[in-house]
């Protein structure tokens, strides 16, 4: 099955990339407040069992995909 992991800078963590994006958006005339830039990781898993998939994805996030000091993550399973 397929899943999507979204990794975000934690609230309160300085996000210079997000700041650069919001300032560029304002230059373009968009009325925006803060923007934050994270990452999207699409993962294809061998398993079709949602519980097993979630367990594996949690492990992937804590071991590699996110750094818990500065990032939070959200896991989304795609139903067929």
């Amino acid at each position: 099955m397929k899943a999507t992991v979204v990794v975000r800078p934690k609230p309160g963590i300085l996000d210079p990339q997000g700041q650069a994006v919001s300032s560029s958006l304002r230059h373009l005339g968009f009325d925006v407040g803060e923007t934050r830039v994270g990452k999207v990781v699409d993962v294809e898993l061998a398993t079709d069992d949602p519980t097993e998939a979630r367990t594996q994805l949690e492990a992937m996030c804590s071991r590699l995909l996110a750094n818990p000091l500065i990032e939070s993550y959200a896991i989304e399973l795609q139903s067929e």
Partner: protein, 236 residues
């Protein structure tokens, strides 16, 4: 003839994308070490290794987060065991990033606050010289060292920072007004609780020859050579 004890063996780990390994090797050789470059895919460190350097560069293209992929290189297990045994390990720039991702040093390195790559000499203050890796320095001493990085903004939350500060683990700080990257509390380098693992963003290996400017880096690289000599002579 120089024996092993005279010229201690220092392993400089080379990852795909390392680019300061030869400078580190040259600086250490100039300071009296037998420095050898070791490919990251090796399962173990050379017999008789007295110290390890993780050099600067852009291992694995800095994909995902800088240092995040290199920490899974086979040699890192051997380096972690070496560090756990109390032996000296120095991480410079990308090496520092790898050590934090591997959990061998506290905190994490993030993109510079300015989002710009910085490449210049900075003033760095020695906060403590109890760690053997800064033994040739004096506390309070100011060193001139080059930095060159895009992701050198060290971060720890308030709680961790207070803990590290109290434990004397903040080993190096940028001098007031010299912080090149937005690093929390001007931190330029940290040691582990035992004091045998040091990571720093500035490049001491580029500052060992008067021909190229400052020679202050020789104090740090020389301290590593001293520590390697002691470590190589000690029983495993």
């Amino acid at each position: 003839m120089s024996s092993r004890e005279d010229r201690p063996l220092i392993a400089v780990v080379v990852f795909p994308g390392s680019n300061d390994d030869r400078d580190a090797q040259g600086a250490l050789a100039q300071l009296g070490a037998d420095a050898r470059r070791v490919w990251h895919d090796e399962p173990s460190l050379p017999e008789g290794t007295g110290a390890v350097v993780l050099p600067g560069g852009f291992s694995y293209g800095d994909y995902l987060r800088c240092g995040a992929i290199a920490r899974f290189s086979p040699i890192l297990q051997a380096v972690a065991a070496f560090a756990d045994a109390g032996r000296p390990v120095l991480g410079i720039c990308n090496g520092f990033q790898i050590l934090t991702e591997a959990g061998l040093l506290p905190g994490v390195l993030r993109p510079n606050a300015s989002l710009a790559f910085v490449c210049r000499d900075v003033a760095v203050r020695v906060e403590q010289s109890e760690t053997p890796l800064l033994a040739r320095c004096r506390p309070g001493q100011e060193l001139t060292l080059p930095v060159k990085h895009g992701e050198g903004c060290w971060f720890a939350d308030d709680e961790l920072l207070a803990e590290l500060d109290a434990a004397g683990q903040i080993a190096l700080r940028y001098a007031p007004g010299s912080n090149p990257n937005g690093s929390v509390a001007d931190v330029a380098g940290v040691v582990n609780a035992e004091g045998n693992v040091l990571g720093l963003m500035p490049h001491p290996e580029h500052a060992v020859d008067a021909l190229l400017g400052s020679v202050d880096g020789a104090l740090i690289m020389g301290s590593l050579v001293d520590a390697a000599r002691l470590s190589a002579a000690a029983p495993v």
